[in-house]
Symmetry: C2
Subunit: 550 residues, 2 copies
């Protein structure tokens, strides 16, 4: 026991953490003390158990494209779906960039998980420890998490050292901030965090575009840049910095955001701040030699051409080295305002220091620490629901099993039924493998073994639909998932879009824009939003986007 604990602690801090906790001699005591706090926690769980009514319980971790879709589509007659997520809503991500400039109102891209039209149960919190043997997940409540509407950057306890975290966990257990939830089936769809590749200052100063809180920050910052630039106290030089907008990442999100940004500036802000139009600039930076790599040459070329015409700079093969608050060092400030903090400085390897009003970072996914930490070694295998893929002679001797992960991205690897694969730890060469038949992983945190499906909403929702359907039909093991490429679309500004169908057909321009809007309108989840979205498109076309800032 000691040697195992020692090994766990000497491994990389965060990975060893959950292990250390679960293997801690007091863990059992802590757990049982938790179970002792009957009045504190059993009410809802009892209610849940009562409501269960003979159904199987499916615990779904995450409320993005994968988790939300599974939850909504599970047959409520057959399954009790319980969603655990740090946010109380699903974000319709393809239209998020539109909300960040006010083309759409924020709530038109949100669907609350709790709804009177579904039978989904929801608890707001973070999954912490998974006990596969007892089919139990320990959850930390997260209703008051101050970062809840922002794209995931860091776990609330990420920076705590092992000992502190252990003490913290014991304390939270005692305070009743942790609770256990048993499951029959587990769906892991926790998604990814933002990846900043360790670039100094990006985590602190850049804006992201993964959640609705991110979109709100962008909208407020953009309008604040213009409002500050309009003040008589702002110098011409500072105006140029403030109205210099940098987008890092030339994927569809970065491109669509740049297009939306260009739209609000030319369609609305130009009428409200005509005197500032000479100062603004939009640049898209990417390390790759070209942007929109998922589109074919012709469509990407059309996008580039549109951007050039609109005056958006595409800077490929450029490397961001730093983002810091304040003026660029080379900046000549006649009045000596070296401490002016109203702009930021972006350091580009190829260009040096650039004063910017806002940096929107839309590149890179980082594996969710939950996957890294809680889905590592498996303490004890469950008695049922394990399908060994090797002869008994090979698996019998295995002391330790671990969830199989992709060596590059750290994603959970699943079979073609989306079930999590585990393999023997410590073995060299040929490793005996097994399938956890009741544990599924999908969305950005999972890879189907042997495939290179992209980490997109389309793949996540197709997997989710497939899983819900076959869980409902109880025939998961008789089918296998294949992604059907439905094509890609991107809005490129000024009422133009590009669209590449799965079969290879291309559309660009105004026609593609009509298809783009139509597709996302019909894909919207609720009737509420299907009504509100075209209303806002019309209202903002007729009266201009709202520029109130709060």
């Amino acid at each position: 026991m000691l040697s195992r604990r020692h090994r766990a602690q000497s491994s990389r801090l965060s990975t060893g953490l959950w292990d250390a906790l679960a293997q801690h001699p007091h863990w059992a005591t802590l757990r049982s003390s938790l179970h002792g706090c009957a009045q504190k926690r059993d009410i809802t769980i009892q209610q849940l158990n009562h409501d269960r009514n003979g159904r199987e319980r499916v615990a779904i971790l995450g409320s993005g494209w994968a988790g939300y879709t599974v939850a909504r589509q599970l047959d409520a007659e057959k399954y009790q779906a319980i969603v655990i997520s740090p946010r109380s809503y699903f974000v319709f991500t393809p239209l998020l960039a539109s909300t960040s400039v006010g083309t759409l109102e924020f709530r038109t891209v949100l669907e609350p998980i709790r709804s009177r039209r579904t039978n989904v149960t929801f608890f707001q919190g973070w999954a912490d420890v998974v006990d596969f043997k007892n089919k139990n997940v320990t959850i930390e409540e997260g209703v008051e998490d101050p970062h809840q509407a922002l794209g995931l950057m860091s776990h609330p306890h990420e920076r705590e050292p092992v000992e502190e975290r252990r003490r913290g966990m014991a304390k939270r257990l005692k305070k009743g901030q942790l609770f256990d939830l048993t499951f029959d089936k587990l769906v892991i769809a926790v998604g990814c965090y933002n990846q900043t590749f360790g670039t100094p200052g990006v985590k602190e100063h850049a804006l992201f575009l993964k959640d609705v809180g991110d979109a709100r920050r962008i909208r407020n910052r953009l309008l604040a840049c213009f409002e500050t630039a309009a003040l008589p106290t702002t110098s011409d030089e500072m105006r140029k910095h403030l109205l210099n907008f940098a987008i890092v990442g030339g994927g569809p999100t970065g491109i669509e955001f740049s297009a939306e940004l260009h739209d609000i500036i030319t369609e609305d802000l130009s009428k409200i701040y005509p005197e500032l139009m000479k100062y603004y600039r939009i640049s898209v930076y990417d390390v790759a030699p070209k942007v929109l790599p998922m589109f074919d040459e012709k469509l990407a070329g059309y996008a580039m051409q549109t951007f050039r015409r609109e005056g958006i700079d595409i800077k490929t093969l450029h490397h961001v080295q730093e983002l810091r608050r304040g003026l660029p060092s080379g900046s000549k400030d006649k009045e000596g305002y070296q401490d002016d903090q109203s702009c930021w400085t972006l350091k580009i390897k190829e260009e040096g220091d650039i004063g910017v009003g806002m940096v929107v970072w839309s590149t890179g996914l980082m594996m969710n620490p939950f996957v890294e930490n809680a889905l590592g070694k498996i303490q004890q295998l469950p008695d049922t629901g394990i399908k060994f893929l090797a002869p008994k002679s090979e698996t019998q001797g295995v002391i330790e099993w671990a969830v199989k992960k992709d060596s590059k991205t750290g994603s959970v690897i699943t079979d073609d039924r989306l079930r999590v694969i585990i393999e023997a730890e410590g073995e060299q060469g040929h490793k005996p493998r097994a399938i956890m038949e009741d544990v599924f992983a999908l969305g950005d945190c999972a890879i189907l073994e042997g495939t290179t499906y992209p980490a997109t909403a389309q793949v996540a929702s197709q997997k989710a639909e497939w899983l819900a359907k076959h869980l409902n039909q109880s025939d998961v093991d008789k089918n296998s998932f294949t992604w059907k490429n439905m094509g890609v679309m991107a809005y490129v500004g000024n009422w133009n879009a590009i669209m590449q169908s799965g079969g290879g057909g291309n559309v660009s321009g105004r026609a593609a824009w009509v298809l783009w809007r139509g597709a996302y309108l019909t894909k919207s989840v609720s009737w509420r939003n299907r009504i509100l979205i075209p209303i806002y498109w019309f209202i903002n076309w007729a009266f201009g986007r709202d520029i109130s800032r709060f």
Copy 2:
């Protein structure tokens, strides 16, 4: 000079502050150094002077009912309207309570000051010092003020001691965060702050309902209370605390908010959290013997009856003594969670400690510190635009003039043309008086001498319309303002309202509710909102209010 400075500094800190600054020997130097920073500040001012084009410039301080209405209605051919306000929008306050529970979306009650449909110029900032002699107002920029969407509670520099504030002001001058704006006419419409009567903890822990940021905080807090109460980690006792909502103040705002709160709970949250319905409670506290004092007995009685039927407790003659974070002291916590910070404790003189999930404070106005500080003694009278109301023999000897204020509320007192009255300082008994013909005050910060018009949106907007009209006609001095009482309305929940016309006619119930909605819909400013408001009424009736929290 020294004795005057001494006197200024020995007077009450905040009052003496502006005096001390303006009388500071270096003030002239600071001012001229400010003027020296040509590149920093002259650009827009030059542009403004250019755009002025022979028109008179009207500087309008504030963007509420009074300031926004004047700005919009001034004839752009004749006047250059410049609004200075810490917020970039006007709030349609009668519907603010509706947004705090999601009956309406936040932006449907906002109108941005900058708009392509008006000719109003806007600078976001705080008016700081007024120089009546040179017709100049010094403004501190406020684009990044973190409290900008919240009802005014404190001035950004309120707590700085004199010396520090002076140094700060000099620094801001040097950094170019202050700028001067000359005017031909000045309209003071800065409004009031929230008044908490020094009740401990209220400023820190209560929620208010004066600005859109306040409404958003209420909406988030309300939903967080329910989400926390739904967690299995929450005890029954804590559920009662979390879902106990206290409203302090039985005026129309407090009553309407209580009604809206009751609506969202019974119409929407009851379907989403049915198991929590047994815990919630709504109470309205007021020190007075009755609520809704501006309504006649019968209507107020109807409101009370409606509330009783709906289970809302009206507690008149109750006194709030304290609001603090944490559990009530008498609370028995079996598991020893004394440090639970998820609820608050409200101490009521008549009831003792009560655990609450949210306190909405909607009582009391405090005079805006700008009125108190910047509109005190007048350093030097302007050469023109002063109309003495006493014979020259009496006014000639006057060394010091001061803006006349109401002794009880501290409001600026105006004549019936809304012009600011000044009077000789230091005299006993009969004080010579004069009128500043180019300085107007209206809204909650001003009182028309000899009247007792209430501090309402109706009075403010009627004054503003009157002022804009007569400025446009250049006949302010030939007319006088009288308020026409258009009656009062209040929503009392469950699709019922009360309405008392100016003439005394009463309507209550569903019919009054229809009139209530109709009146506010037609009074809404922009077509954008006049379209969106009924759409949201319909959408939220059909699909329920949105409960996404971000």
